[in-house]
Symmetry: none
Subunit: 223 residues, 2 copies
């Protein structure tokens, strides 16, 4: 699969790799812009855009007239999980948290909330049929479940984790290629979750939610 992300994002990742692999360690000076651009096969303006991204996330420091320096090489997580696996990390976090939340939600589920959830899935199906990305419906489904716990903190957490997925930052790591198929799968899984909630079966709901989010993460990483 060809990388369709913007060039500056791809380039930023390549520079991150140079640093991660120890090619350039903390405090080291990278090659000059002109040279590095040629070395990476991109134009200087494009490299500059990448450097700005790296500067913002604290990977490098740019000193005018002097050079580009690698900043804190402090690496996160000591287990070999390694580079740029933020998407899987995100979806794992969602799976853990939302699975726990839905157990609470199942207990407090009202007929009214169930009706709202059904309406959401209908709208989602409609979006898919019209080749629109049902991101808002997807978001609503998860938020409504969180809201049914009556705990605003839990809602905020679910909200933030969801939005994290579609943030430009995360989109930069891997472009989303949500296809009609993948959305259809997601819809099916949502229906399974809803069925468990209708049956007031907390454990089944928990299992369905966990399954949905892990599958969703897998789809995200595979395309």
């Amino acid at each position: 699969m060809t990388d369709t992300r913007r060039l500056y994002q791809q380039t930023a990742d390549r520079v991150r790799q140079l640093i991660a692999t120890g090619e350039y360690q903390s405090g080291a000076r990278l090659p000059a812009e002109r040279e590095l651009a040629q070395q990476l096969g991109v134009s200087r303006p494009s490299l500059r855009e990448a450097l700005i991204a790296l500067e913002i996330d604290g990977t490098i420091e740019i000193r005018m007239g002097s050079g580009i320096y690698v900043l804190n090489t402090s690496k996160p997580s000591g287990n070999g999980r390694s580079l740029g696996e933020s998407p899987s990390e995100l979806m794992q976090a969602r799976a853990v948290i939302e699975s726990a939340i839905i157990v609470q939600a199942a207990a407090a589920m009202t007929e009214e909330t169930l009706a709202t959830l059904r309406a959401t899935l209908e709208a989602m199906a409609d979006d898919i049929a019209n080749a629109r990305k049902p991101i808002e419906q997807d978001r609503a489904f998860h938020l409504i479940i969180a809201e049914s716990t009556g705990n605003t903190l839990l809602v905020e957490i679910v909200e933030n984790l969801f939005d994290e997925r579609h943030s430009p930052m995360t989109a930069g790591i891997r472009g989303h290629f949500e296809t009609t198929e993948s959305w259809t799968s997601a819809l099916t899984e949502h229906h399974a979750i809803l069925a468990a909630l209708e049956a007031r079966d907390p454990l089944a709901a928990q299992a369905a939610m966990h399954s949905h989010l892990t599958a969703s993460g897998r789809r995200w990483l595979e395309n």
Copy 2:
């Protein structure tokens, strides 16, 4: 004082102002790059650098061939909470989330991590014996467990929820009257959690964590 920052930073701020002043509201489309650059009196490459900075911090979204769009003007960025949150809500959220997390943690528990946890409890006991508030040790205990999942997002969430409890805002709702007794109870509960982790018993650990946080919330409210 003349602004000596790089041009892209100054430009990014000017665009942020255009958005903040309502010139361009959420969802609105900014002028085309060429036009906006001229309007701001900078070159297109410089404007582009500014736009990348704005894209990264989630202020705008750039759609190829379409335009530049203003995203959510709401800026949560960390601590957008504060309203309608009760201590009980906070502790309920912690109970739900940390109980789920410890199930993952129990599976990944290493002897090394267990040793660190034991050391934390010893330091906590020492603090209590010397009439010091073992807040840092308490914090460390919960964070170490979260960290053992290897998921930085989960760690962040646990961290934020913990710190929320001791924030000025929350402290204002109810001054903490953590007594020696209440800290001793907490320590005992921590030991119970540790015992379950040493036994590699996820369910027991889950129960112990849930029990600890609900009890902790009760103590908080009662004094």
